[in-house]
């Protein structure tokens, strides 16, 4: 994958549409994701937020009969081009899921495994420590590295998953409602962590929590089901978070963020 000169934008979509069989889940999305910023995707349930997010690292392909049209440019390269290997895409664009899903292995292995499959040749102990530090988990687990990752609390498991993602050194981290299964304290920790991570990574987060979007993100994309006969989601407004939450230009956005909708 080549890198273009204009590196302000890390991901750009052009007329992106995503289908599940004949069903068009997401239609005509045109977004430009800024490097080293946090971009939030908000919107009511079932409008295709997660589908859009998963199209950025081709995780959608795990659903049988799903396909995409249009373009997703990552550093100027179309992710859906024929010669692009999804394994490389996922190596460079990592993902954290809604429900913490550590491997049923030791904490150490959770971090090391991804690096090892990529043939990482450096000092593994160092990589594990650095990744856990970056995920703000090191102090809590440094003495129990060889215990099961499943023995941790939900919030710790989610930070372990973030550490696992960081360990393979991606450029973008996709987060699909990463705090929705966590209590407020664990949620706060994840949000602080995101603030830290954005210095080195670009983060795209799907969230149902309006306050969370307002707190952590720099840009916000508002998704809705498009008008018309097909129940197909699209981005109706994309702007700085500040603007979306204070003076949105679309009436539907205003209704949604002020709680008058859905």
């Amino acid at each position: 994958m080549s890198t273009t000169a204009d590196s302000n934008y890390v991901i750009e979509t052009r007329h992106l549409a995503i289908f599940y069989g004949d069903f068009k889940a997401v239609t005509d999305v045109n977004l430009r994701i800024q490097r080293h910023k946090i971009t939030a995707i908000i919107g009511p349930s079932g409008c295709g937020k997660s589908t859009l997010l998963r199209s950025f690292n081709r995780m959608n392909e795990l659903v049988p009969e799903s396909h995409a049209s249009g373009q997703v440019l990552f550093d100027g390269q179309d992710l859906y081009a024929r010669q692009v290997d999804p394994v490389e895409v996922r190596h460079r664009i990592g993902m954290v899921f809604q429900k913490p899903n550590p491997f049923p292995k030791s904490i150490y292995e959770n971090i090391a495994w991804g690096a090892r499959v990529h043939g990482y040749r450096g000092n593994m102990d160092e990589l594990v420590e650095r990744s856990l530090h970056q995920a703000a988990l090191w102090d809590e687990v440094k003495d129990i590295l060889h215990r099961s990752g499943l023995a941790l609390s939900g919030g710790q498991q989610q930070r372990l998953c973030i550490a696992r993602t960081i360990a393979v050194q991606p450029e973008v981290i996709l987060m699909d409602e990463p705090a929705s299964a966590l209590d407020p304290i664990a949620t706060l920790k994840i949000e602080e962590l995101m603030e830290e991570l954005k210095r080195n990574y670009t983060i795209i987060i799907v969230t149902h929590n309006m306050q969370q979007a307002a707190r952590v993100s720099d840009y916000t994309a508002m998704m809705m089901l498009a008008n018309g006969h097909a129940r197909s989601g699209t981005v109706i407004e994309f702007d700085e978070t500040n603007k979306i939450f204070t003076r949105p230009s679309d009436k539907r956005t205003e209704d949604y963020v002020t709680g008058r909708f859905g």
Binding site: L62, G94, F97, W113, V168
Partner: protein, 416 residues
């Protein structure tokens, strides 16, 4: 607990209904308990029936009184080897004696072996009558009186038909000398071939169907047919095994290709053919169970692995398979349990019964179920006692194989 909902206005009726609802629950509970109890009774009856046949009184009669063979007042138990050989020479035809000498020269045989030959070939104990455990326990006095009256020369003993000698001796045409050594070895070898073939093939097919195959009509058809194959009567597999492994692939299964032509081999009716036939029989079972086990691995784990940039194969090998192994092994236990008890397909494939040598994979074969089937079909009571003993051996063999698999399974589950 008072509510003024109009639908429940009649509080009395609610109470009546409540009692009825609880009563229905109690009745169902009793029904479920009864089915459990009936199951336990059936199993106990089965086990008692087997044990009933495996122990009891036996009256032996010797064709030649061992006392008459004594030399200079020394009983044959205490005679040295040379005199025992001499007894054999005098009492056997010269042809039979030379044949024994040709098999293993007498001076190379142990004394015990020669003594056994004297007992087997000259003294020749025969079972005149045998009794079940129940008869032996309840009518002991009558049995003893009857033996003294009817068979004055007979020796009455209370024996366990299952004993060390029974397990160590090969099959024989005389009940007193018959054992299950060859049948045990035959069963173990056959099962070994079955597992070695069916396990990798079955798990491989399951991985392909669950992890790789697309959900199209062809693959759905394949899946449906595998489910149907699991229900095909086992004798059909026997016919298939006969046609393919014995007839078509006879050169392979008889070992001729590998240059190991066993003089006892009757074409392709070998342990290998039997094992392959049973492998075909249990393959659908292993595939279905492995598919279930793979399906039970949460999708989130696959996503986690793929999202760090692992390939599909790395995901399957490092995460999906390790998590499915306990389920796969459970399925294999069921499959092996089925295979080890199969009789019908092996009869069709051409099991022999009288095998007096230790089998290898290219030799004729017999297995425990075959042996049991043959013995129960004979009219004399003593064979049925032997069959009961063989059934106990089969049960113990089955339980120990399963125990091994369960230990393996628990070890693989324990990791995390």
């Amino acid at each position: 607990m008072k509510k003024n909902n109009p639908s429940y206005s009649n509080g009395g009726r609610f109470r009546d209904n409540l009692a009825t609802r609880h009563r229905a629950g109690v009745i169902w509970q009793i029904v479920f308990q009864a089915s459990t109890v009936i199951g336990i009774i059936a199993l106990t009856a089965l086990l008692l029936n087997i044990i009933d046949g495996a122990f009891g009184y036996v009256a032996y009669e010797a064709r030649v009184d061992p006392a008459s063979l004594a030399v200079d007042g020394v009983a044959i138990e205490d005679l040295p080897q040379e005199l025992l050989v001499e007894i054999l020479r005098q009492n056997l035809s010269s042809g039979a004696f030379n044949k024994l000498d040709n098999e293993i020269p007498f001076n190379e045989r142990s004394r015990i072996n020669v003594y056994d030959l004297v007992i087997e070939r000259i003294v020749r104990y025969d079972v005149t009558e045998s009794w079940t455990l129940r008869e032996s326990l309840t009518q002991g006095a009558e049995i003893r009186a009857r033996v003294i009256e009817e068979y004055p020369d007979a020796e009455l003993r209370f024996i366990s038909w299952i004993n060390a000698e029974f397990i160590q001796r090969p099959q024989s045409s005389e009940a007193v000398n018959a054992g299950v050594r060859t049948a045990i070895l035959g069963s173990l070898l056959t099962i070994l071939v079955t597992i070695l073939v069916a396990f990798p093939l079955g798990v491989g097919a399951a991985i392909y169907l669950e992890e790789y195959a697309l959900d199209n009509w062809l693959n759905r058809l394949i899946r449906t047919n595998i489910n149907n194959l699991a229900g095909v009567p086992s004798i059909i597999y026997g016919i298939l095994g006969l046609a393919i492994f014995v007839r078509v692939l006879g050169v392979l299964t008889s070992g001729a290709v590998f240059g190991s032509v066993d003089p006892t081999t009757a074409s392709g009716r070998t342990v290998l053919s039997a094992g392959l036939t049973l492998a075909l029989l249990v393959l659908p079972l292993i595939i279905i169970n492995a598919q279930e086990a793979l399906r039970a691995v949460p999708q989130s784990l696959r996503q986690a692995s793929l999202s760090v940039g692992a390939t599909k194969w790395q995901t399957v090998w490092s995460h999906v398979l390790p998590n499915a192994i306990p389920g796969i092994l459970t399925g294999t236990i069921l499959a092996v349990s089925r295979a080890i008890g199969e009789t019908a397909p092996l009869i069709v494939v051409g099991a022999s019964t009288a095998i007096s040598f230790d089998p290898n994979i290219f030799s004729r074969f017999t297995t425990l179920p075959i042996q049991i089937y043959q013995w129960t079909a004979r009219p004399q009571a003593e064979w049925r006692h032997l069959a009961a003993a063989a059934i106990l051996v089969l049960i113990v063999l089955l339980l120990s194989l399963n125990a091994t698999a369960i230990v393996l399974r628990n070890r693989s589950t324990k990791r995390f």
